[in-house]
């Protein structure tokens, strides 16, 4: 795992919500321009972990976290969450384009909501680039000013990816991005993720073991808030070191 530089390093990361210890002493490094999948049974803390990386957990009442999380060399836990979220984009389980905005405005929403003024030329460029990166441009280029909610579920999800990419994030977090989509739309998103890793570091949570094996370079296995195993996907799937991992992969539980 030393062939590439790490971009995000967690050391001794702990998270409590009120009295519940959700994440326990997580040590993990994520590598640049790789797809890392986080797997584990329901309730193991996968989503909480990924939401810590853009400080979205700050919104939960009673949340406390400790340890360190370095984005490059800066401790992300001490940065202003608003700045963190501009560097670390996120796509959610259910597609959530803004219903009041057109496709065009949805892509630019990050700029609009942060009060960043752009010239018309810059806007057009960003919209085109982002939609092309999200493999949606050809399907929507003639309907850019229609509402984003008119699109199909899979298209909406790609619009959300374009919206996140428009901010030029260093890392893209995907929280079970295909669990609400049909197989065809899922395949399209998976293709897109493989393409995108040349441009951005991707960390994704997935329930789908097959999906992790198809598209991720590295896989982490989380169980009851602890990081059980983390290695190249190949190794995890063929030569795992822990029985828990094996049992999960062979569907004995979870």
């Amino acid at each position: 795992m030393k062939e590439n530089k790490s971009i995000l390093d967690l050391q001794n990361f702990n998270l409590h919500i009120n009295e519940h210890h959700i994440l326990k002493d997580i040590d993990i490094s994520f590598y640049r321009k790789k797809v890392t999948a986080i797997m584990g049974p329901s309730g193991c803390g996968k989503s909480t972990l990924i939401r810590s990386m853009n400080r979205l957990n700050d919104l939960i009442p009673g949340v406390k976290f400790g340890g360190q999380m370095h984005l490059y060399k800066k401790n992300l836990l001490e940065m202003n969450p608003i700045l963190v979220r501009r560097k670390v984009g996120m796509v959610f389980q259910r597609p959530n384009p803004f219903p009041t905005m057109s496709i065009y405005d949805n892509v630019l929403a990050g700029y609009y909501l942060n009060g960043i003024k752009l010239s018309k030329q810059e806007k057009e460029q960003i919209v085109m680039d982002s939609l092309q990166k999200a493999a949606l441009w050809d399907e929507v280029k003639d309907n850019l000013h229609r509402k984003g909610t008119f699109l199909s579920g899979g298209q909406q999800q790609r619009l959300c990816i374009a919206r996140a990419l428009a901010m030029n994030p260093k890392i893209l977090l995907l929280d079970e991005p295909t669990s609400a989509l049909d197989p065809k739309a899922t395949a399209k998103i998976e293709e897109l993720i493989i393409e995108l890793k040349t441009k951005v570091t991707i960390i994704m949570v997935t329930h789908n073991i097959g999906q992790a094996s198809r598209i991720s370079d590295l896989t982490a296995f989380l169980y009851l808030g602890e990081l059980i195993e983390y290695d190249r996907t190949e190794t995890i799937f063929t030569n795992q070191k822990h029985t828990r991992t094996e049992e999960y992969l062979t569907r004995k539980f979870g």
Binding site: R85, M90, C160
Partner: protein, 278 residues
């Protein structure tokens, strides 16, 4: 297996139930249709160019209109809307954002209580707050009394509308680095726009026919007045005064004013429905 006969009787029961619902619902429409028809047939004869443009004439003189009452009503609605809408929308946003906790709960209780207070009490409050210190009846005090009535309607509809907006939208905005206030102003409020506007329209419709709170605030005035610190006439007050008068000519004006008011409220209600559908 269900026997064929029981199935048959069930189907009949079903049909009967559906029919009963339909009949009862149509019965509900009867009073409204009756009121509309009655007011229309009496009021439409009062409508004329003079009705909308002239002042009321003294007793004995023919003709005259209700222009001062129309202007007065519009002024009252304007003032109450200016006070109640921003306040109501903000309180509604606050309540939908903070669902638990002591302050939201107390606020919610206050809003519910405010909604239940008789309208004449609102008039007394506005009288003691504004009329007494300023020393005269005024449009301002009437507007405040109406605003107190409109406030709970706007607050409630805003809260209810915003509660229905999925949290995922808020998350989407936060994940893009949007600060809290822009998330509310540029994502959450626009998403609930139609519901909020319809609540505002219904609030306006509700207060535009109120008479009791105006009796000792806006008071009434036979002349044209656009000074908000002076008394002025309004449609409900004019109806109240003229309908109880013994003069046929004045009663005719009261019918006309009633029709105007009903048409105004009706169109606001229809507009509110249209806005929601959009």
């Amino acid at each position: 297996m269900i026997k064929a006969q029981t199935l048959q009787s069930r189907l009949i029961q079903d049909a009967f139930f559906k029919m009963a619902m339909g009949v009862l619902s149509s019965l509900l429409m009867l009073p409204l249709i009756f009121i509309l028809f009655y007011i229309f047939s009496h009021g439409i004869s009062a409508f004329s160019w003079e009705f909308f443009t002239q002042l009321p004439k003294p007793v004995g003189e023919m003709g005259g209109g209700v222009s001062n009452a129309i202007i007065g009503s519009l002024l009252l609605i304007l003032i109450s809307a200016l006070v109640a809408i921003p306040l109501g929308v903000f309180i509604g946003v606050y309540l939908s954002e903070s669902r638990q906790g002591r302050i939201p709960e107390i606020t919610r209780l206050c809003i519910d209580t405010l909604q239940g207070i008789p309208s004449i009490v609102m008039g007394i409050i506005a009288y003691t707050w504004i009329v007494m210190p300023l020393g005269s009846f005024s449009v301002l005090s009437g507007g405040i009394a109406l605003a107190l009535m409109m406030l709970p309607i706007v607050t409630k509809s805003t809260e209810e509308t915003l509660k229905l907006i999925p949290d995922s939208l808020k998350e989407a905005a936060f994940a893009l680095g949007a600060p809290y206030h822009t998330t509310i102003l540029k994502v959450i409020l626009p998403s609930g726009k139609s519901g909020i506007i319809s609540g505002i329209l219904l609030g306006i419709a509700r207060v535009s026919g109120e008479t009791a709170p105006l009796l000792f605030t806006a008071f009434g005035n036979p002349f044209m007045s656009v000074n908000i610190f002076k008394s002025a006439n309004s449609l409900p007050l004019l109806i109240f005064n003229y309908a109880t008068s013994p003069y046929q000519d004045w009663q005719r004006l009261a019918w006309g004013a009633s029709l105007l008011l009903v048409l105004f409220v009706l169109s606001l209600s229809i507009l509110a429905k249209v806005v929601v559908k959009k």
